[in-house]
């Protein structure tokens, strides 16, 4: 088996490892944390200040 054949098998193997790692980690996170917490983010995050009404800020 030549270098390029080994490289192709290595690419398949490495891809499988990384994809499997992500899927397993995602399952572990789901089992360890509350779904409500995982999906509790709000648009812009918690410290959105850029939309503050200028008249309210400077009465």
């Amino acid at each position: 088996m030549g270098f390029w054949n080994i490289l192709m098998y290595a690419a398949w193997a490495l891809s499988a490892v990384m994809l499997a790692w992500m899927v397993i980690d995602a399952f572990m996170v789901s089992s360890q944390y509350d779904e409500e917490y995982l999906m509790s983010s709000r648009e812009g995050g918690e410290d959105v200040v850029h939309g503050v009404h200028m008249e309210e800020e400077n009465p």
Partner: protein, 464 residues
């Protein structure tokens, strides 16, 4: 007491990490685009000759400058993941937002697939040069998507820092190539006088070239997707986006200047890797190797940015329940939209395995173009609903409404150009989005919690 309860609830919310700076934004925008300078832009030459390509480079450059200015202003105010999707939701309404979100997901996922195909093809070319002719590209296509998805999964800072490094190196390779052709001395290496001809297909060729002119800049608007993860959106988004646009105008002009001075338009118009060919013509193996590596870097940076942007757009759609809310989760340790990242991996790989690079790219370009058209109406409505002085803006673009009107006119010209070359594809994509809209209105929107979509602390818009 109420304040204490609110603080407790607030502390339990999960957020994305705000760790990015203007350089990361530059890397995200330029990283997605730069592969277009290494390949693809040259199809403009095939459509209308070398001069048509230069006209397309600058006319479409104007289109994207308008896009960058408009995006910078709106995003510096609507600093949320989802970028143009979130803008559309707040400024126009849910149906427009759904469509824009879908444009973004489709455009970036397909572009990611195309980039992975390019990496696979480069591996095949490299193997052929070293004497192995039958390299299967599929494992390298999958590896590219899997590795970049894994990187994106584990955190945005490392993802975009990698983009910063490889995008900068790819850009510098174009600068090195520019100086290698002795640009100040015409006739020594560059042969513009001999190679530049009149417009071979007249002005209709120039119009036709506009479609492929988008390759020079397609994706710079992706900077908006990082708005929720930058330390200061009002500063980082305008600096990163407009700095990226300037970089791309320089890169596009260098690219055209070098390639059109080395190759006749008949060859350049159909070359697969024109910049690598340019380095080959110079007879330097070091330059050849540099351009080979830079092309790979540019394709990887583009795929990396596309995974980042597509996942943020999909995540934002899910967070508002426009798509299954399951995908609106954030990883508690890495603070990334991890379920959206995983979900898009098989889709990108499926598109890549079709091998239809042409169709995939055309779908991506048209989805982008539909998004730019929306921006014109969005911008005009944004200034009407929240005039200057009513809310904070990190950046105010000049000459409003001229950029919006210019953008709309140039989008119309590009639709016509696309119709000339890919009429059937254009109509089928329009049909796809119309069907998706019908599904959203009659089926999906009943699941959306209307009030939960709008959580930005904005003042009531003027006239409402």
């Amino acid at each position: 007491m109420a304040n204490a309860a609110a603080a407790t609830t607030s502390s339990k919310r999960i957020t994305m990490l705000k760790v990015l700076n203007p350089f990361h934004i530059w890397a995200l925008g330029v990283g997605i685009v730069l592969v277009g300078e290494f390949m693809g832009w040259n199809f403009t030459v095939g459509k209308g000759g070398a001069y048509a390509s230069l006209i397309a480079c600058w006319v479409i450059g104007l289109l994207y400058t308008c896009v960058a200015m408009i995006d910078s202003e709106v995003t510096s105010t609507v600093a949320a993941a989802g970028g143009q999707y979130t803008q559309a939701k707040h400024i126009i309404g849910p149906l427009m937002a759904f469509n824009v979100g879908l444009y973004l997901v489709m455009a970036y996922t397909m572009l990611c697939a195309a980039d992975a195909l390019v990496v696979g093809d480069l591996m095949k070319s490299g193997a052929a040069v070293m004497g192995f002719a039958d390299l299967d590209t599929k494992p390298f296509v999958v590896l590219t998507v899997a590795f970049l998805a894994w990187l994106n999964y584990r955190g945005v800072f490392a993802t975009l820092t990698l983009n910063l490094v490889i995008t900068f190196l790819a850009f510098m390779s174009l600068v090195v190539l520019f100086f290698a052709v002795d640009p100040m001395n015409q006739g020594v290496v560059l042969q513009h006088k001999a190679l530049l001809t009149d417009l071979p297909y007249g002005w209709i060729g120039v119009i036709a070239s506009l479609q492929f002119g988008m390759w020079y800049y397609l994706g710079i608007e992706g900077t908006c997707q990082a708005a929720e993860e930058v330390r200061s959106a009002g500063r980082a988004i305008p600096i990163g986006t407009l700095g990226g646009m300037m970089t791309l105008l320089v890169a596009a002009s260098i690219t055209w200047f070098v390639a059109s001075g080395l190759m006749p338009w008949q060859y350049l118009g159909q070359a697969v890797t024109p910049m690598y060919d340019a380095a080959t013509l110079l007879g330097s193996s070091k330059l050849q190797l540099m351009l080979f590596v830079a092309t790979a870097f540019a394709a990887i940076a583009s795929a990396n940015g596309c995974i980042n942007d597509a996942s943020r757009a999909w995540f934002s759609l899910a967070r508002d329940r426009y798509m299954p809310v399951f995908f609106g989760a954030i990883h508690p340790r890495y603070r990334t939209p991890y379920r959206s990242i995983i979900f898009l991996v098989p889709i990108a790989i499926s598109f890549a395995f079709t091998g239809l690079l042409d169709q995939v790219i055309t779908f991506s370009i048209l989805s982008g173009l539909l998004g730019y058209t929306f921006m014109t109406f969005n911008m005009i409505k944004f200034r009407k609903m929240w005039p200057l002085g009513s809310i904070h803006r990190g950046y105010i673009h000049p000459f409003h409404p001229l950029p919006a009107i210019t953008l709309l006119a140039l989008c119309c010209a590009t639709y016509f150009a696309t119709f000339l070359g890919y009429g059937a594809t254009l109509l089928s994509i329009m049909a796809f989005y119309i069907l998706a809209s019908l599904w959203f209105v009659f089926r999906r929107y009943q699941f959306v919690k209307r009030a939960d979509q709008f959580t930005m602390p904005w003042p009531r818009p003027k006239g409402y």
